[in-house]
Amino acid sequence: DTAVSQTPKYLVTQMGNDKSIKCEQNLGHDTMYWYKQDSKKFLKIMFSYNNKELIINETVPNRFSPKSPDKAHLNLHINSLELGDSAVYFCASSTSSTRSEAFFGQGTRLTVV
């Protein structure tokens, strides 16, 4: 009964490929996020969705396209992968209450070769 689950946990792919990471939460939350953790372990938000509506889009290249088919799911599609995209991508969710903490998935380690 994992709260926030991401698939896959590991992804190794060649430059130029297109890949997707899926995220699902069973907490009944209405807000979901994608964060990127780079090689220096720095965490930065990429996107957030509230009730399937895009709220935050933080200067992320157009090659990254999030999609939220419903409140419980937020997927991340990446086109034309580059070496610099190698990182750990975390999905998270929370309620829209300002007091709500964010719950994180276990992360997806993406390696572009």
Partner: protein, 119 residues
């Protein structure tokens, strides 16, 4: 824009001893939330403790407590009776309490502090 700074890249502590991790932040807001997250080698992000800026009382969760100094914009984490399982990377994070706008819900993280616990 808010910024969060953790000036200690690495810290170490002996088992059963106490250690304090530092965090400072910059904001023009008067109401917000501060968090400490733990990231063990398993990579999972685990919430350790949360502080609401409008509360003067420092938050406490078992062996974990914070020293929240709002005027100084400082938010340190104290771990008492350190255990081997406390070894991890610790992140300080800021979240606005403003219910709306493009920063809503966004966590701004510090650079992280690697904590080593020696037996």
């Amino acid at each position: 824009a808010q910024t969060v700074t953790q000036s200690q890249p690495e810290m170490s502590v002996q088992e059963a001893e106490t250690v304090t991790l530092s965090c400072t932040y910059d904001t023009s807001e008067s109401d917000y939330y501060l968090f400490w997250y733990k990231q063990p080698p398993s990579r999972q992000m685990i919430l350790v403790i949360r502080q609401e800026a409008y509360k003067q009382q420092n938050a406490t969760e078992n062996r974990f407590s914070v020293n929240f100094q709002k005027a100084a914009k400082s938010f340190s984490l104290k771990i008492s009776d350190s255990q081997l399982g406390d070894a991890a990377m610790y992140f300080c994070a800021y979240r606005t309490s403003f219910a709306g706008g493009t920063s809503y819900g966004k966590l701004t993280f510090g650079q992280g502090t690697i904590l080593t616990v020696h037996p």
